[in-house]
Every structure is written in C-alpha cells, then in structure tokens.
Amino acid sequence: MRMEYEVVIGLEVHAQLATVSKIFCGCSTEFGGEANSQICPICLGLPGTLPVLNKKVVDYALMAGLALNCELSRHSKFDRKNYFYPDLPKAYQISQFDRPICQNGYIEIETAAGRKRIGITRIHMEEDAGKLNHEGSIDCSTGSLVDYNRTGVPLIEIVSEPDLRSPAETREYLNQLKQILQYLGVSDCNMEEGSLRCDANVSLRPLGQKEFGTKTELKNMNSFKAVEKALHYEITRQRSLLEQGKKVVQETRTWDDNLAQTISMREKEEAHDYRYFPEPDLLPLEVDHSWIEQIRSNLPELPREKKERFIDQYGLPEYDAGVLTASRALADFFEEGVRAYHEPKAISNWMMGEFLRLLKEAGITVEQAKITGQLLAELLQLIDEGTISSKLAKTVFAESFKTGKDPAAIVEEKGLKQISDQGQLDQLVSRVIAAHPAVVADIRNGKDQAIGFLVGQIMKETRGKANPGLVNKLIREKIETG
C-alpha cells in the first residue's frame, strides 16, 4: 500500500525595513546607488568605529510584532554572530540571538478548509551584509568586487513555526505577511530588489506520525512563485526518496529557476558555530510600556480589518473588498473616490475593471498611476449627468490614467461631449431610416432587435457621441409615426 505523507514547512523571511538610514549609522538605505556610494567608517567596520542603534528600526520591528500578534520583549539585546566573509566588514553580524524583540505570534491564513493560524516563533532585528559581484561568470570568475551599500541596511527576520502543510498554504502565508508589512509601511517587500527574502525548511512524515522527518533548507527563491515551485519540486523529490526506502539528507539546497530544480549546496549541514555573544558596544534594549503604547496607537488599519470595514461600511461584496484591500494604496484610492461619489459599487467596478487592467498593461503600481480616486469620481459624475456616454467614459478614463488630467477637461479638449440635442439627432435619424428601408420594414414586422443596427449606424456617424437612449427613442417615434 502506498504510504501517505504529510508535508511540514517552516519559513524564515528576511524583510528589509523601509527606514531612511541604516541600522547603526546615518548612511542612506536607498536601493540601486552606485557601488560603495552609501558607506561610512561605521558601516565599513573601520577599526575603532561603534554602532549606534537607529530607534526607527525598533519602532518598525515593534509595529510588525504587534501586527503579527506577538509578545513584545521589554528587555531585549543585540548579539554578535561571528563568521568570515568578504561582504561582512566586521566579520560579525550584529543580530539578536536569545532575546529577540518579538516572540510567539501568528498570522491567520485562508485555506480551503477555512481559516488557519500559522505560528510565528520570533521576529528579530539585524543588519544586512554587502553584496559580492563576480567578474565574468561564476565558474570562471577572475575576481570579485564587493559593494557595501547594503551593509547595515536594517532587516527583520520573521521565523514561522513548522505549521504550513502545503506549497499553497505557504504562498498564502507569504501573501498575508507581505500585505501586512506593506500596510504597516515597514517594508516595501520588493523581492526583485531583495527587500524580501525567504528560506524554507521542508520535510515529510508519514501521516499521523508526531516526530518530524529530516528536513532540507531551501534557499535562493526570488519570487513567491519560485517558492511554490521549489517546494513542489522538493516535496516530490523527498517523497520519491522515501518511497524507495532511501533517506532524506539534512542539507541546504539552492533553487535553480532555469533548471526548475533544487540542487544540494553542501552535503550535511556544516556544523556552523557562530560563537554568539552579547554585543558589548550596544546597551541592552529596554522597551517600556509607553513606547509600546505609542506604537500601538499609531498602528494603521490592517488588511483584514479594512476588508471587513469595506463590506460593512460600503456594502461591497466580499470579493470586491478583498481585491480593493490587497494593498493600502488601492484601498486609499477607493476611499478617495467614495468620498467624492455616492455609489461605492460603481467606484469598485471601475477600479476592478479598467483601473487594474490599465495598471497591468502599463506594468506600474497604484502609487505610480497618475489618475486619482477623486478624478474617477468626477468621471462617474459626468456619466450620471449625461455629459458623456459610459462607452466614451472608458476613453476618458484611459486618458486621465495616462496624463492625470481631469475628465471634464479631457471631454472638452477631445470634443467627446455627448450629443443630446434633439434637432441635431432628428436629421441623422431621418437620414439613416431613409437609407435602410429593409431594416425599417423588419422592425415594423416585429423584429424589434433590428433597431440596434440603426442605433449603431448613428453612433458610428457621431463617433460614439450620440446619446444612445435618445437615439433609440427618436428612431422608434419616427418609425411608428412614419
């Protein structure tokens, strides 16, 4: 009989914090600067320099801790993690070992079987290392250059409990985590720029067994999709080993996106001894009640609360509320629109249809779009007032999306104003009726839907500007009376 296995996954996520300056010095954290242009004696670890903690980093870690339902440590400290590598200028990383800033939290994810709680073991603060750039290709490199711009950029490491049971759950956990961190504004969670990095521990065990199986650690997954693919690959690989009666080797494996497989980095986990000890250059970190309360009172509304409020307050369907609260910027866009327009569902429809489509086409984020919720509201008013047809409104929206101009101005400029003048339309209707006697005969014989052809002809002649309702009415009147 085929053995059933249960998948066990735990994640270690590193999120770069969106502070303006580094964790222990005043250098800029901006991404993409010229190599070694954002460095100073402190982040270079020059002899004699000392770290001074950026309080904003603690603020952000506390915000993440509160949003992820953690216990916040009143007494915390930093430790040195010692190892040699050229991208680590002090040959130790200042991190937190046995007293992390936050512990024992959770994230709730939606699964097919309902809502599920994924435990968060700990969140700790640490500094990022630099970046090695190899000249030539990795296998025949003639030398390596080090860029220390990233050295000292603040990170939080969020370690989950081994509570995830499938790649899909893992993806959902990552989505939720990313959404929360972005909402808080503590990280932009941009995986391409490396501001969100994820390692996964994965193992299999016979269904019903309590003890964990042997795990492997997966690294180098550069997107959520890659995480999911790597986990699928690794689960299949481990299952096939177990089914053949072989053992899974505890090791670190790297995901190769091109080969679409995980590759062993080193047999057996090297017994790394980081010789952690308390960082003597920094005082123990004391977080008092008032600090925590100040953070708590400034905590923004989180995605789940916002979604529920959108349903209650605006009467949106759950699906709409979910889409619109996917990011804080999208939700803010919506609420700006709703403040200036009475029908939330109409705003929602336009956002979920035209807005998201155009964003996708342009490959930009909500923040980068020129159109605003206010402009969308103005556009909807123009439709309501009969100034433009809803069909032409799409053209106006696209223009406003591109330029940020206000819809009324675009209508004016492009001459898109709806023709509702009866005298002007009368002439057109008469001409079209005269030109299509066969169609008119059909209508008279009860083929009512043929009227649409005549309306279409008029819309074509007016390049969509004729008021379709009025045209329809005029045609009927003319045919009946004629």
């Binding site: 004699g48 000392l50 001074v52 040195r80 040699f84 050229p86 000890f277 003597p280 250059d281």
Partner: protein
C-alpha cells in the same frame, strides 16, 4: 628648568602670559624627542609637519599650545594608526577618534603616535609588532604596557602629556613603571569612538601625565557623553580641576586584605603602606577591608577580554585595508595566511583563547561563568564604596622588569593582578608614583573609587602627591643642555 620638564598646567601659564609661544614649546619638545627617542623609542609616528602648521595657527582652549602624544591605537584622520601591528602598519584612518577631536578643540597639538603592545595586548611593549619601547629610568627595563610608549614619552619629557588606553591596567601599569601619573576613568566616562577595540566592555581611554593636576586637565578635555558611543554615559560633567586641592580629612580609605596578603615585592608593599600612613596622618581614616571575589578577577578577565578580542580582531582579514597575504588563491587561504602572517604570537594566543571560550559547548562553562564572576566582583566593589571613599593598593606587584624576564605569558598576566579588577568592575582608578625601590625604579600606588568618583580620586591623589613631593627624574635619559 627646561620647557619639556614642565607639567601642562605650568606650560599653559607660560603660554597664557605670552612668555613663550606654542611654536617655541613645540620646537622644545621636538628637540627633546630628537635627544631621547633613539634610546627610548616611545614613538611610532611623529607628526612634526602637521604639528608645526597647527602651532602657527591661532589656538584657543584650555590646552592651547600643549603638545601631546597619542597611543597608536587611537584613530587620527590622515595619520597612520598601526596598533603596532604588521596588519595595520600602513593603515591611515579617514576619521578622528572623539578624544582626538576634543583635544583639538581644546587647542592641543599632537606630537605623534606612541608605541604599544600589538593591539594593546601586553604589559611591556615587548609584543609590539615594530620594536619595544625602553624605560627612561633604566633602558634595560620595560616601560610597562600596553601604553608603554605614552608613559615613556611623558617620563622622558618627550611629550607634555599623553593618552593611553586601559583594558586591564594598560594606563596604570606603565605609568607606575615610568614614574608618572596614569588615570583610568570610569567605563563610559570617555568616548571609545575611534579607539581600536581590544575588549569593548573593558577598554577605556585616559590620560598619562607628569602630575595629578595635569590628569584633571586632560580628563576635562576628553570626558563626557558622545552620541557616537552608545556606552558613553550622558550625565552632567564636573570640572575635574576643582578637585585639585589638598584635603583627605575624614576620607574613608580601605586597604583590600586580599591584595596586601599576596606574595609580592616587599619594597613595593613597604612604600605603598608608608604612603598610606601619610594620608592617615593627614586625617584619612584607613581600614583593612575584604574583597573576596577579587580572586576570580584575573581568571574572568582572561576569558572576557580574549573572547571580545577574538570577535573585534576578526575584521582584519585582508579584504578591505591593511596587510594582505600574497597567498590568496582561495578566499579561505587569504584569510588564514593574512592573519597568520599579520598577527604576533600574543595576539594569536588571545584570539585562540577567546574563540575557544565562545565556542558552542564551552560558552556556558567559560564566557557565561566569567560574566557571573564579573557580577560578583562588581557587587563586592559597590558594597565597599558604600562605606569607603577609596581603596588603595599597589599598582603592580613589582617595579619595572627587564626585557625578556617574563618569558612565560602566565607570569606576564600576573603582573596585572591589582589593575584588572578595576576594569572588570568598570570603576575609575589612578596610579601615581610613591617612591623608588633600591634599584632606583619608581613604585606606583593605585587609588580606586566608585563609579564616577574621579573627583575624589583626584583630590586624594593630589593630596598624596603634595605630601610625598616625589620629584625624582628618570636617570637614564638625563637633562639637556
């Protein structure tokens, strides 16, 4: 009296009264350096050119025109800071240590950088990666260490005053051996920013001077909170010169029984106890006290200091600055050969000790235990300072020893037995000369106080200095004509 023989406060008076210009003072000191340096070898780098430029500029501040020497493990922008190590032999920092900034703001002029045991690890300057410094009182003797260059320079008149650093006695022990005054401030009273770290939780910069009043002057200039050093304490700063006045009437002084009952040089013991008697005659109340945990201090020190050092010195890997071995075909080979060739034996010994003490499986037995001992030692001192203003001991168990005499590292470590507990507890202490032994070598007396009790220490030390009127000058280097 030559200018180089004057203490800082007298030099300052002469400069203020315009009897002499900073440029003339500077010239006098460089002449003196030329005279004695070949024999003493106190300096690694002389900064005559920069100093000359500075002496020609208008200077103001409490140290205007005072020529000082800086230990070569304190960073100076644009001036080599070697730590007496092959690894940093050509390293030039791009920034000034906070203490150097403060000395410059106070108007001081830097004469040069002084020799030390490599990375401040040692008690004789014999561990210097360049050359040893010799004791101006007897050129066959060590000047002490690790701030041996600074102490020898002040003793020889080759600097008006100097900065040293003290991790386990590195200011006080060489001050004692060279017959000058050395003050190790409370941990956190002087910024460590720019001091090349040996053991971060123990290191402290302090003055080495001709007399106690000068120590107060220099401490005034360098102390105080520094936003660049998280361990520097933010508190109101007293003017330490106000404690330069006589008076120990009613002062309660403790003599730690555990120290005086140790087996050490009888002449040192006799001299220190005679000095204590003078204080008693001047009205101090002297009692024997107990410091039971002092026994653990040396053991705890030789765990904590190497542990921190093993981490602090890991950055010298040949990647960014300093020495890089030519054997560098592979990264790991570059790391290993750079460090094997660059560090001296004592530094390697301590890196190995520290790495071992921090290794998983040993951490609890060594590092954690040592930290617990540290807590006990602190508590012992805290308890005593509730009842006593000061504790007095010898600074060192012997006077200056001869080169090569302490070939066993353990013997050398024992030389720190009276000074190390002070660093472990983070308290301030001063060493001042209290006499000469039969070989004509100076004997140092150590006064210890509670946290931030530098004022009391300075007052008692000044009083004793006046009572003893120790005026002997080092014989070997002599006066100039």
């Amino acid at each position: 009296m030559h200018l180089y023989e004057l203490p800082i406060h007298q030099l300052r008076d002469k400069i203020d009264r315009q009897e002499v210009s900073p440029a003339e003072v500077l010239a006098a000191f460089y002449r003196r350096i030329n005279e004695v340096e070949e024999r003493v070898k106190a300096y690694i780098t002389l900064t005559e050119e920069q100093a000359g430029v500075r002496a020609s500029e208008p200077l103001s501040g409490p140290l205007a025109g005072v020529p000082l020497a800086i230990k070569d493990n304190i960073s100076t922008a644009g001036i080599k800071t070697t730590c007496s190590s092959r690894l940093l032999a050509n390293y030039v920092p791009p920034y000034d240590a906070t203490v150097v900034n403060r000395l410059n703001q106070a108007g001081a002029i830097i004469l040069g950088k002084t020799n030390l045991d490599e990375f401040a690890m040692g008690s004789s300057t014999e561990n210097s990666g360049l050359y040893p410094t010799r004791n101006p009182w007897n050129l066959e003797c060590v000047p002490g260490g690790s701030s041996g260059g600074s102490a020898a320079a002040v003793a020889a008149g080759a600097a008006a005053g100097a900065l040293g650093s003290d991790t386990g006695g590195s200011i006080r022990q060489p001050a004692a051996f060279c017959g000058v005054v050395g003050l190790k401030p409370t941990y956190g009273n002087v910024s460590r920013y720019g001091l090349v770290a040996f053991a971060s939780s123990l290191d402290q910069i302090g003055p080495i001077t001709k007399d106690v009043a000068d120590a107060a002057l220099l401490l005034n200039a360098i102390c105080g909170h520094d936003p660049l050093d998280s361990t520097s304490v933010d508190r109101p700063q007293p003017d330490y010169t106000q404690f330069i006045k006589e008076g120990v009437q009613g002062m309660r002084i403790g003599l730690p029984r555990e120290y005086f009952s140790m087996d050490f040089d009888q002449e040192v013991k006799t001299s220190v106890l005679a000095a204590v008697q003078r204080l008693e005659q001047a009205g101090a109340r002297v009692e024997e006290v107990s410091l039971p945990s002092a026994d653990f201090a040396l053991a705890a020190y030789y765990i904590i200091a190497p542990a921190e050092a093993s981490s602090n010195l890991a950055r010298y890997d040949g990647v960014r600055y300093g020495y890089r071995s030519k054997q560098n075909a592979k990264l790991s080979e570059m790391f290993t050969s750079t460090r094997s060739q660059g560090f001296g034996d004592e530094v390697k010994r301590r890196i190995m000790l520290g790495t071992y003490a921090l290794s998983s499986g040993y951490y609890d037995a060594y590092y954690l235990k040592a930290q617990q001992a540290r807590t006990l030692i602190k508590e012992d001192f805290d308890q005593l300072f509730k009842e006593y203003d000061l504790l007095i001991s010898p600074t060192t168990p012997t006077t200056a020893f001869k080169f090569g005499e302490m070939s066993d590292p353990i013997d050398m470590y024992q030389a720190d037995i009276f000074t190390v507990p002070v660093n472990i507890a983070g308290i301030p202490a001063i060493s001042l000369p209290c006499g000469l032994d039969s070989k004509g070598l100076p004997i140092g007396l150590q006064m210890m106080g509670g946290h931030f009790a530098e004022g009391k220490i300075l007052q008692a030390a000044y009083t004793l200095e006046q009572l003893l009127a120790f005026k002997e000058q080092p014989a070997e280097v002599g006066g100039a004509e």
